[in-house]
Amino acid sequence: MNQLSIQTKLVRDNFTLEIPELTLPTTGVTALFGRSGSGKSTLLRVLAGLENKAVGRIQFNDQVWQDGKEFMPAQARGVGVVFQDGALFPHMTVRQNLQFALARAPRSQDLVEVARRCRIDHKLGAPVPTLSGGEKQRVAIARALLSSPELLLLDEPLSALDTATKKEILPFLEELKDSLNLPMIYVTHAPAEVERLADRVVFLQQGRVDKVETLAEALSRADSPLFADEGASSVLLAQVETLQAGDGLSCLCPSGSQCQLWLPEVAHAGNYRVRIMAKDVGLSLSPPQDSSLLNVLKVTIERIEVNEQSALLTLRLGGQTLFAQISLRSLRQLRLSAGMQVYALIKAMALV
């Protein structure tokens, strides 16, 4: 029974988390998505065993974590937690932090090897206060991995980092996800992180579960909460064809299609999720001959949704979905309608 079943209630002074029933597969990455105050971090703490006021029943695979009066403390649950601020012990070096986890782990691991994989092996002797924000999060992740968890919980691990560092850590998390066979629960309010990492999304609102969807389902509807702040976006699953294709670009091929997708050099080979904002996609009836736009993808219009200022078009590329948001003027001038074959134009530089 590879699933995490959750039934919990936690009442605080000005906030109640109440989940009558939630069952999640214990594979891949589950994102807990919501605004601040939605209860996503609280739910994570409940799972970690750090909220002993929570009542209900929690079972992870065949292990009962909580049931009625029975409460398995955090120490016994075998979860690794990466906290928002890293929560590194400030009076220790990096190595001592890692050692703290390893010394209590049920299984031995090569500390230096894990540090190397997290690219902090050159910092082992460094005191924690000398680390940069990105380094701290890498150490926090390495430390969580060294405790040999059966479930990895990440509490907004990127939210305290600047944009440049986020761009550096996100691909690292993708790599981890691909290389480890470790279920993860990832708390975030950033749609980009959900779209790059998650396999399924739990939408939380005011302490309740609003919806549980696979990423594909969550991205297929225009009214998805993922689009509420930054507008619609889509994710194309693609294979890296040429990692270094010159001029600082990589060349990828979206799964189920024959076309090429150019974007600034990606971090790793293999499968890659390309996040494309709908407002970065333009349309043309014929392929442009003399334009700077590198990505010209032949697509079929599946649906057109018109609202006050713009139109949102659902496009088909192979088996995948791509959103394009265009002005009503363009929609009228090109006389676009469902079923038409058109060319989607995307700047390579918009795909960072």
Binding site: A48, L50, Q75, F83, F89, P90, H91, F100, R104
Partner: protein, 232 residues
């Protein structure tokens, strides 16, 4: 007998004082640590109640505290009965060294618990949580994470408890009495000397106390600076 500035001084109150203060500090650290930890971490509505209780000796006249201790430790009372039951020859605590230490522990409690509590409150909850998720038990959480991050609190607690015990008078007089070589502490010896108009002896002991107290505080503030723990 010591001769300081040509004045004959009986050093035994000094030794008694140091022994009482040392034992009291030790006891206070042992019972103060769990109390302070509990108070620092609890979200219970009773927290205020216990905080006030711990702080009570700060405002209560020492004679009040001493009076109640004297009553509760009286040779025919329950405490004495219980001690006799455990095999103690007479169950007598008042006017003994142990009685002095018990009185001092109550009287100096806030001086140990409050700095510890402030220090524990400074340890971020996320560090405690992180240690727990890495399977750290309470003992190693305490020794490896909480202790090193609250060194200043420990130092302050120990020094203030020690110094405050050295300087107490009221409780000591009520509970310990004034038995030479047993329960006569420096503060009482000074009072005695003044009563009997031995101003020279009172002067010498007072100067010793003054220098001692000032040096202790100097050391606390000095070490506090040196052991500054940086978090973040």
């Amino acid at each position: 007998m010591w001769y300081i500035f040509g004045v004959e001084i009986d050093p035994s109150p000094i030794w008694t004082t140091l022994a009482v203060a040392f034992t009291t500090t030790l006891v206070l650290l042992i019972i103060g640590i769990p109390m302070a930890w509990k108070l620092a971490r609890t979200q219970s509505r009773w927290k205020v109640f216990f905080e006030a209780l711990v702080a009570l000796p700060l405002v209560l006249p020492p004679t009040v505290l001493g009076f109640y201790l004297l009553i509760s430790m009286n040779p025919n009372g329950m405490v004495a009965d219980f001690l006799r039951f455990l095999g103690h020859p007479d169950g007598q605590l008042t006017f003994t060294f142990v009685g002095l230490v018990i009185g001092s522990v109550f009287y100096s409690l806030p001086f140990a618990v409050q700095p510890l509590m402030r220090a524990f409150e400074q340890v971020p909850q996320s560090l405690v949580d992180a240690a727990k998720t890495m399977r750290a038990n309470t003992l190693s959480l305490f020794w490896q994470v909480v202790m090193p991050l609250s060194r200043r609190g420990f130092l302050t607690a120990a020094t203030l408890a020690f110094a405050h015990t050295v300087g107490e008078f009221g409780v000591v007089l009520m509970v310990g009495g004034n038995i030479p070589h047993e329960t006569r502490m420096v503060s009482i010896a000074i009072f005695d000397h003044v009563e009997t108009l031995e101003y020279a002896q009172a002067h010498v002991l007072s100067v010793i106390m003054l220098i001692f107290s000032f040096s202790v505080l100097l050391v606390v503030y000095g070490l506090n600076r040196k052991f500054e723990v940086k978090i973040g």
